[in-house]
């Protein structure tokens, strides 16, 4: 060990000797604690599960589509199509106009 190292060591030795050592503050046995991050993740997971569960329960109470309603809906759809379909007469007139009437007769 060089002279410089020896001096530094002596210096720190002296400082350590000058420190008064108080009675140790020994903590009580550590309780088994959950790590804060794991605890946070657990809380979040539980919150999501509770929210999803309550949504399922609420959805059960919602009114469902009855057969009558289904029939009404189908009828309404059909009537809508009818509205846009050309009438039988107009189709016939169209055919007559397309072909020579005399030929067909």
């Amino acid at each position: 060990m060089g002279a410089v190292e020896h001096s530094v060591r002596q210096h720190f030795e002296e400082e350590i000797r000058a420190v008064r050592i108080p009675a140790p503050a020994i903590p009580a046995p550590a309780e088994r604690r959950i790590h804060p991050l794991i605890g946070d993740a657990l809380v979040r997971t539980v919150a999501v599960l509770v929210a999803a569960g309550s949504l399922v329960v609420l959805a059960r109470d919602l009114p469902r589509e009855t057969p009558l309603r289904k029939a009404i809906a189908t009828a309404a759809r059909e009537r809508t199509y009818e509205r846009y379909l050309p009438s039988e007469d107009s189709v016939r007139a169209l055919i007559h106009r397309s072909f020579d009437r005399r030929k067909t007769e």
């Binding site: 001096s7 210096h11 400082e15 140790p24 020994i26 550590a30």
Partner: protein, 201 residues
Amino acid sequence: MGKPLEGIAILLQSSSNDARSRNRCFRRIWEEYYPRLVVFVRGCGEGAGADAEDLAQEVMEKVFRGIGTYNPAWSFSTWIYTIARNACRDRARRERRAPVVRSLTDLPASREPFHLRTPEQELIRGEEARRVEAFFKGAEPETRQIAFLRFHQGMRYGEIAAVMGVPVGTVKFRVYDIRRKLKLHLEEEHGSSRTLRATAL
């Protein structure tokens, strides 16, 4: 020096249920490391330096509480000084955010800075030790800590790098730099004291 304490730390981990042996182990670690930690954390800046004893106690508490996380594959002293270094950083960060203003009269007698000694004590102390102290007073806190870990604790470069959170190369350079500057400082002081003595004669 560190090996028996590593054994104690392992014993502490295994005997967590036996209160008496646990307390005995804690006491041994406390007596061994508390004074060293006080000296080590003195280099953590002005604010932390004034509360070195408080900070050392805080570190010891962290060590005791976290003894279960200690990995015996690593050196026990490296683990303790890493905790101390992190505590220093936290303290410095807190103080930067909200600077603590203390009155000198608030300081109890036991908290006096270590360099305030009686004239008799000063006489007993070697001249060289005073020079070394003067050097470290003017140096950066990290310089003091690295010097402590290397020259007093005899840690390897890799261990110091782990404690300080810097690359090994940086530690090597810092140790070389400390040695060089301290040598220069001691030589200068030697020169000036010789000149003073010659003038007095």
